[in-house]
Symmetry: C2
């Protein structure tokens, strides 16, 4: 092959590599829920297949950042599942006590439980609808 053809071939191979990079791992932003009870806020994050050792949790004022990763599958035939590194920063729905988070990882769901700064007072449902009485 002559020089221009080789150069063109090289160019095509580079293009192909770039296209393959574009079609690479799906970017990963794990779905999150916030739930609460009277004294706690709980963050639930779907992180199936993530090793506990790869997870990092970092609180910073009114946000919490969770990072982790899972390896890309080998010998992939068809792929939809995200892989590689993720990093997600979420704002607390309300103020929590600093560094109060307790994390657990069960069946691929990371749950972090924070203490509310201002716990709410639970009112039994039988008392709802009645006007507060002065004492």
């Amino acid at each position: 092959m002559n020089e221009p053809v080789l150069a063109r071939l090289h160019h095509l191979m580079t293009l192909r590599e770039e296209v393959e990079t574009l079609a690479g791992p799906v970017p990963w932003s794990p779905a999150a829920d916030w739930t609460d009870d009277d004294a706690h806020l709980c963050l639930h994050l779907d992180v199936p297949g993530v090793d506990a050792g790869s997870l990092e949790v970092h609180e910073d004022g009114d946000t919490v950042t969770v990072a982790g990763q899972r390896p890309a599958p080998e010998r992939l035939r068809r792929g939809e599942r995200p892989s590689g590194v993720f990093r997600r920063t979420l704002s607390f729905p309300e103020a929590v006590r600093p560094q109060s988070g307790q994390a657990s990882l069960v069946h691929g769901v990371l749950t972090i439980r924070f203490e509310k700064r201002h716990p709410t007072i639970s009112v039994p449902s039988s008392d709802l609808g009645r006007a507060p009485q002065e004492e």
Copy 2:
């Protein structure tokens, strides 16, 4: 309150319930990967928080259907994670032996391993690039 106001209030409450139904559980279609080795095809499905007892797997010719569910969280403040029932039917990337699937659920990932109908023959990489020799 007079009758028209009560009727209007009832109407508003019905509307609110309808809006809450619309904003209900996110429909769930778990992400799936297919990987292979020479003799097997593997399906990997992200099902974090799903109880093994709720999972059903059904093979039907050239497709496999997986169904399951996880309960909706209580006292949700902000929600992104899908919940409720899912059902996904996937076609095999190539033919498998009927009823050969072996399922396991680890860290929220369901893996089902099927035997290929036509296992491929692995060629050691050191033999690649050499022309086959007649015997």
